[in-house]
């Protein structure tokens, strides 16, 4: 239990600092950023209570907004993502349900499962985030393109992080 809390706590701090200090300084094609910090919400364990996930999403978004001067944008996107996470997990659950002590990652759930899970949630998160940013429908298609491209970069960064930090299954 303590290991679970401290592990997630450090991941929270580390991902925020990594996002604001390093990733936000990367400019791909002028205005594309990978938003790796959503990995925190993706990797919360299955058995964590839903309301804690929502509150953590709120806190995560607020922390990001504080650093990036975008009050409300990331918070809206993260809370929405935390809400959809529950629904997507329910739809994608294996027939016998999720086993205790497992987390959504490469090792526990397999690459294909994780890919679908991560891409759906990242896409939803970016959808809300970028429409909250542009705040109008007049440039609908440029925003869609931005959402798609940013999602691809976020997913790539998520996969690299998973490969680096999640140790493979012991046989």
């Amino acid at each position: 239990m303590i290991r679970l809390v401290s592990g997630n706590f450090f991941r929270f701090i580390f991902l925020i600092l990594f996002q604001v200090l390093i990733l936000n300084n990367i400019e791909l094609g002028g205005y594309l950023n990978p938003f790796l910090y959503v990995l925190f919400l993706l990797m919360l364990p299955f058995e964590m209570a839903d309301w804690i996930v929502l509150l953590l999403g709120f806190l995560l978004g607020l922390a990001l907004d504080m650093f990036m001067d975008t009050l409300g944008m990331h918070t809206t996107a993260c809370v929405f993502m935390a809400f959809m996470r529950k629904n997507i997990l329910r739809i994608m659950s294996p027939r016998e349900g999720y086993e205790g002590g497992k987390s959504p990652n490469f090792r526990d759930m397999g690459i294909a499962w994780f890919f679908i899970y991560a891409s759906l949630l990242v896409l939803l998160h970016h959808l809300v985030l970028f429409f909250a940013e542009s705040f109008r429908l007049s440039d609908f298609f440029p925003t869609l393109l931005k959402i798609f491209l940013s999602s691809v970069f976020t997913l790539i960064s998520i996969f690299i992080t998973q490969l680096l930090f999640v140790t493979p299954k012991e046989r």
Binding site: D69, T70, L71, G72, T76
Partner: protein
């Protein structure tokens, strides 16, 4: 009553979601209307300190570039000195006149955080109210204009950069004196800005200089803004739009100057008095 309680406990997740999402949305709207709420932004104690520590480290990587910039600027200042010396010889009566009054004072500040890839970009500087910084002061650097101070805490301030959808910089074309308002434009490229509605009879070419005009109570007149990159002609219209290459390299800002207009209050009070008529 029991059913109502049951209904809420059963659907607590949805209600919590709706509650948190409305809080977030409220913050978003609030932020869009008033630029930013006063507490949760990058100039508060936590994020300000984190950004400053980070910038203290990364400054070493920019040292060569900063030195080069400073050397260039020193050279420019030296030129100015020489100029004023010759002026003194030519028109001594100007100097005897004791009515010269200082209008602007400059405070050097370090950029501890900067963004260029969003729709509305801000900088954080390591100067605040304890160093005499106030809202709506101009920020410039050796190369040109940077932005306007928006929020001030004790030791930090956050600055609305020229790369912000809501900023306008009153400026003029050096060759003709024609004035216009510079804003960032729509293509979100940190190297370019736009000036709209310039009469099409002016013969403008690529490379013409744009400076800040004297119509602003924030920016001093004659600060470099940029050069014309492209004249965008609109068919059937007597006005052209100008695409401006900004002289400030926003990707590499490290030291900037905050400009205190000592006569700003006087000017604004006067303008307010005539507005009431």
């Amino acid at each position: 009553m029991r059913n109502l309680v049951l209904f809420f406990t059963k659907n607590y997740f949805t209600f919590l979601f709706l509650f948190l999402e409305s809080v977030a949305f409220f913050l978003l709207i609030q932020n869009n209307n008033y630029q930013r709420a006063s507490f949760i932004n990058s100039s508060n104690a936590i994020s300000g300190t984190v950004y400053e520590t980070y910038s203290n480290i990364t400054d070493y990587f920019n040292l060569t570039y900063s030195n080069e910039q400073l050397a260039k600027e020193n050279a420019e200042l030296r030129n100015l000195l020489k100029n004023s010396y010759t002026n003194y010889l030519v028109t001594p009566q100007m100097i005897k006149d004791s009515a010269l009054k200082q209008q602007y004072s400059y405070i050097v500040a370090k950029v501890v955080n900067n963004s260029i890839n969003r729709k509305n970009n801000y900088l954080t500087l390591n100067r605040g109210s304890e160093q005499g910084i106030k809202k709506d002061m101009a920020v410039i650097c050796g190369q040109g204009v940077v932005g306007i101070v928006k929020e001030v805490t004790a030791n930090f301030c956050s600055v609305m950069s020229v790369l912000h959808s809501k900023i306008t910089v009153p400026s003029f074309i050096k060759k003709y004196g024609e004035t216009g308002l510079l804003n960032w434009g729509d293509d979100n490229d940190y190297r370019f800005g736009t000036i709209k509605s310039i009469p099409s009879h002016l013969k403008l070419i690529k490379g013409d200089t744009i400076l800040t005009s004297s119509y602003s109570s924030i920016f001093p007149a004659g600060i470099m803004v940029g050069t014309i990159e492209q004249v965008e002609q609109i068919t059937g219209n007597t006005f052209n739009n100008l695409k401006i290459r900004l002289s400030t390299d926003f990707g590499k800002l490290s030291y900037v100057y905050i400009v205190n207009n000592l006569l700003k209050e006087e000017q604004e009070n006067l303008e307010k008095a005539t507005q009431n008529d």
